[in-house]
């Protein structure tokens, strides 16, 4: 998102600055009107951010300092809610499961989308068709795909167990066993998101200048070598982006879980956001739930900063 906004503003400021120097005396007025125009164009985006992001976030901060069931008046409790979660085993349990989910989700997603991007790019023909096909799940609403996958996963009547049954595999209760539920949800999540990240990798791949490959071929590099020494290093920014966004996504996963397992069976898929949801909308503990969301916010922020540091995106 921010990538799209920045060039517009910077070019506007540039024009503004240029005219500032040209016009000499009348400079300040001119600068004003163009800056105003810039702000006017930014206004809808800024307003949207304010109304739907910033203000609710500040409000959550305010709520987190209170005890509130959503119906009565708020009671100020200071930082009590923040002290409470320190010995909340269920919260840490849900965080642990969230990390596990990240491990189940991010690496397969990363490799699947990279491999698909490479395949699609190198297809001699029909690559547009395949690109569209692989992208299709992204267009689908996660609710609908969740419902479809629930049917596929059904222990007695589902397609997956029937297919596996042909190979002699005993029926697996995908969504209702402690061992499989989280894996099953992660599989759907990967399936849903691969297409999107494939497009990002494709864009990254197309940005790599062709002449580097040509030079490498002339130097006698084989395909594997050029992939390892040219493609991968040149995809570093794309990979960073994919990793950060998918890790954040894995921390925020909610709709699929709500729909497919609702945190069950017996909490096997009770990830952080689901836990926050239950705290607020089942137990009506809004203050505490807000404190938990802010905690999750900071965890995600720390992870993002760490990732950016590790992958040194800031130095470029």
């Amino acid at each position: 998102m921010s990538n799209e906004i920045t060039p517009v503003t910077s070019s506007m400021t540039r024009t503004a600055t240029r005219s500032f120097y040209k016009k000499g005396g009348k400079k300040s007025k001119k600068l004003n009107s163009e800056t105003v125009a810039a702000f006017v164009f930014l206004l809808p985006a800024v307003l949207g951010l304010l109304i739907f992001m910033i203000i609710p976030m500040l409000y959550a901060l305010w709520v987190s300092l209170h005890e509130w069931n959503g119906l009565t008046d708020m009671v100020w409790v200071g930082f009590d809610n923040y002290l409470r979660f320190l010995d909340d085993k269920e919260w840490f349990g849900s965080l642990g499961r969230t990390f596990l989910y990240t491990l189940l989700f991010v690496p397969p997603l990363f490799f699947a989308s990279l491999i698909l991007a490479l395949i699609v790019k190198n297809l001699p023909y029909l690559n547009g068709t395949f690109r569209t096909l692989f992208f299709l799940p992204v267009v689908m609403s996660s609710v609908i795909s969740g419902l479809i996958w629930k049917l596929i996963y059904d222990e007695k009547f589902g397609m997956l167990n029937q297919i596996l049954g042909n190979f002699g595999v005993e029926p697996i209760s995908w969504l209702s066993s402690q061992e499989w539920a989280l894996v099953a949800v992660a599989i759907v999540s990967v399936w849903l998101n691969t297409g999107f990240y494939m497009i990002i990798f494709l864009a990254g791949l197309q940005d790599i200048p062709r002449d580097i490959y040509e030079a490498a071929t002339i130097d006698g590099a084989n395909r594997w070598q050029s992939f390892w020494h040219i493609t991968l290093p040149n995809l570093r920014h794309t990979s960073t982006f994919v990793l950060i966004i998918s890790v954040i996504g894995s921390f925020q996963v909610f709709d699929l879980i709500k729909l497919m397992t609702n945190g069950g069976p017996a909490k096997a898929t009770m990830l952080s956001v689901q836990h926050i949801y239950e705290t607020s909308f089942v137990l009506y503990d809004m203050g505490y739930a807000s404190a938990l969301s802010l905690c999750l916010f900071f965890i995600i922020m720390i992870f993002t900063i760490l990732q950016m540091k590790l992958l040194k995106i800031n130095n470029e």
């Binding site: 009107s33 007695k156 909490k267 096997a268």
Partner: protein, 427 residues
């Protein structure tokens, strides 16, 4: 040049105006004509879709005809009860809650505690004999009645007659028989028995009768003491659920609510626990389907049966436009003549909490299986208790753990007691 500046100024104003229009269009400014004198009152009445809401819509048409000064708009909120409550609490938090709303026992306490429930003592006299005695207890707090009692659905065991006959089986009467019969009826593509497996208030509701049959309970009658460990009733019932699950005869994952009688009618299961409104679906949608109904099996032969009666109570919002007039509406619908209640219970196969209504509905309760509900189950049914949300959740988690994990039952009971105690002390 100045033209451009003007143009930009005007475009700025234009954008600003557009944004204002957008923002104001988002806020709901529907003007409800408020008039405390009762003139042209428009009351909002929310129910969860399903349940008896369609009948309520019908009955309210009569009210609206007879009372041009007080029009009632019934809104059926689609989705599960959870979705309904989410919408309800958000609406109240935003100061836009309905005047009248349906509420189930598991959620009732919250609204009472938040001072949103308008006491209905001026319409319902607890000393009058018409209401079954246990129907008022769960909605009475310190002598005040906080909702109109509900039409009750009652739990029982439904079974597929043909399948049992084919195997020469009798419907189970004891827990052991339940397990045995379920085992014999389980096939590769059919469950022997279907019980609710998703965590939530309905699963608890289905579970309570098992505890009650063993003379146990989660909380004491007044709701002030945790009785989970007073005897082994809860433990035994959790063990039954665990045994059923481990033996592979029960449903594990359900797409819809565990009360959905269509599972039985479509042959997905041979037996299931469900509620009396299921009779309505079976008789109208599946007239050729042969089914039977028996009370919940008991732990051992000779013990007393049990059932839970549940349903939606009607609450009057104390923050509504005119709580007194809203109360009059529900009073008319449920508490005055027997005509309106009868038309609702007949079409939803429920039981009115009023003896007079059941008497007047007469022959409706003489036909199988409603006679079984009326004669055997109604007299012993207990009302679904109104526990605080934390207790409801703790019970739900205990059932889930019993069914889906290997945690020892002692540990589960221990956790349940600890959580329930914490919840009660918090109050």
């Amino acid at each position: 040049m100045s033209n451009i500046v003007k143009l930009k100024k005007s475009s700025f104003i234009l954008v600003f105006v557009l944004v204002l229009i957008f923002v104001s269009a988002c806020s709901n400014n529907e003007s409800t004509s408020k008039d405390s004198n009762g003139k042209n009152l428009k009351l909002e009445y929310w129910t969860n879709s399903g349940s008896e809401s369609e009948q309520i819509v019908e009955v309210m048409k009569d009210w609206n005809k007879q009372n041009p000064d007080t029009q009632v708009k019934v809104t059926m909120i689609p989705g599960s009860p959870t979705d309904y409550y989410q919408k309800l609490s958000t609406a109240f938090a935003a100061g836009k809650g309905p005047d009248i709303f349906a509420i189930s026992p598991a959620e009732l306490v919250k609204y009472v505690d938040s001072d949103l429930a308008y006491p209905v003592n001026e319409w319902i006299d607890p000393n009058k004999d018409d209401y079954f005695e246990n129907t008022l207890a769960p909605i009475t707090f310190e002598d005040k009645i906080y909702a109109f009692p509900s039409n009750m659905g009652m739990l029982a065991l439904f079974y597929n007659k043909k399948l049992l006959e084919e195997k020469g089986l009798q419907p189970p009467k004891t827990w052991n028989e339940l397990l045995e019969v379920a085992k014999k009826l389980t096939t590769k593509d059919r469950y022997g028995l279907l019980i609710e497996t998703n965590e939530g208030a309905y699963q608890n509701y289905e579970f309570y009768p098992f505890v009650w049959m063993n003379d146990g309970d989660i909380l004491s009658q007044d709701g002030k003491k945790v009785t989970v460990k007073d005897n082994d009733a809860v433990r035994k019932s959790l063990k039954l659920y665990r045994d059923l699950m481990k033996s592979g005869v029960v449903s594990k994952k359900l797409e819809t609510g565990g009360y959905d009688i269509e599972y039985l009618a479509k042959g997905n299961t041979a037996m299931m626990l469900s509620v009396s409104p299921g009779v309505q679906t079976l008789n109208t949608k599946y007239p050729d389907f042969e089914y039977g109904v028996v009370p919940y099996p008991v732990p051992e032969e000779g013990m007393e049966i049990s059932s839970a009666a549940g349903g939606w109570r009607m609450m009057i919002s104390s923050k509504g436009q005119d709580p007194k007039r809203s109360g009059d509406v529900i009073d008319w619908m449920t508490n005055q003549d027997t005509e309106q209640p009868i038309s609702i219970v007949k079409k939803s196969n429920r039981f009115s909490p009023r003896k007079s209504v059941i008497e007047d509905a007469g022959e409706f309760y003489e036909e199988y299986p409603m006679d079984l509900f009326a004669n055997e189950i109604l007299p012993i049914a207990k009302m679904e208790p109104s526990y605080p949300a934390e207790v409801v959740k703790a019970v739900g988690e205990a059932i889930q753990q019993a069914m889906f994990t290997d945690t020892s039952l002692d540990q589960i009971i221990e956790d349940l007691e600890k959580k329930s105690k914490a919840a009660i002390e918090k109050k």
